[in-house]
Symmetry: C2
Subunit: 156 residues, 2 copies
């Protein structure tokens, strides 16, 4: 007969499931605060708050997601009139995203909500005895040698 594999060891699925749980809870939280907010906006808006205007490419690197995903988020934010794109003065390829007036107002509105989420995350991290450090380790281990390389080695 065939061997079954321990689902609990399916790390990828567990990461995905926990991520979905957290996203769903954050969404419910936004909903109870009566704010129209797309979760993927947070990363971009947060980066613009911290660093001022940034390009799609810069945001892609800072957020460690593909430039396509950033571009889609930019589009959505522009449609909601929260940010605008301005061409770079010297490089014709680059557009820099910056807040509109209503974007700045939304960020002001979101501050206590984001602070509550941040504090809740810190509490969770403490109770889980530093899940962030564990994710750092996983990140480092996969950077050192990918699952693909490791699995390929096991087949030789």
């Amino acid at each position: 007969m065939f061997q079954g594999f321990d689902d609990e060891a399916a790390i990828g699925k567990r990461l995905r499931r926990l991520s979905d749980l957290i996203d769903q809870d954050a969404k419910r939280f936004y909903d109870t605060q009566d704010v129209l907010f797309e979760q993927r906006w947070f990363g971009v808006l947060n980066q613009l708050v911290m660093h001022g205007p940034m390009s799609v490419s810069e945001l892609s690197k800072a957020l460690r997601i593909s430039h396509v995903s950033v571009s889609e988020t930019r589009k959505s934010l522009e449609q909601a009139k929260l940010i605008t794109s301005k061409p770079d003065k010297t490089d014709g390829r680059v557009k820099r995203l910056t807040f509109t007036k209503s974007g700045a107002r939304l960020v002001e509105t979101m501050q206590p909500i984001w602070l509550a989420l941040e504090e809740a995350s810190q509490e969770i991290n403490r109770e889980a005895r530093n899940i962030v450090a564990a994710l750092d380790r996983l990140d480092a281990v996969l950077t050192k040698k990918s699952l693909f390389e490791r699995a390929s080695d096991k087949l030789k």
Copy 2:
């Protein structure tokens, strides 16, 4: 000015990113093995290997994903002629999924590939100093009190 929040503490995003990294690597690995395989099939096929025929609802509970997601995977597996659904003898609502002949053959073909992925996962888990245990802790902490509840408390 507005406060920026530490992206590194955005636990949900980090979980998602690591999950995507692992999924992408697994997909590349399947591609190099010249097998046409959808990643979401693994969980369902693996459960059927371990437990014999199971219903959508049972799989949903075992895999801890929604019954809709299981139903979509069932549809895809049926279209690939790897499983078939049979009505339950006593409960007209229930259909049980079971392997077809080519499904059983695919599982046989996949065994060394899945074993390689499993061994690579165990190696990663060891080097990351028990990421599985850390995910267990996060699971328990969120079960005890959700992000939603914690964030709601912070706003009071």
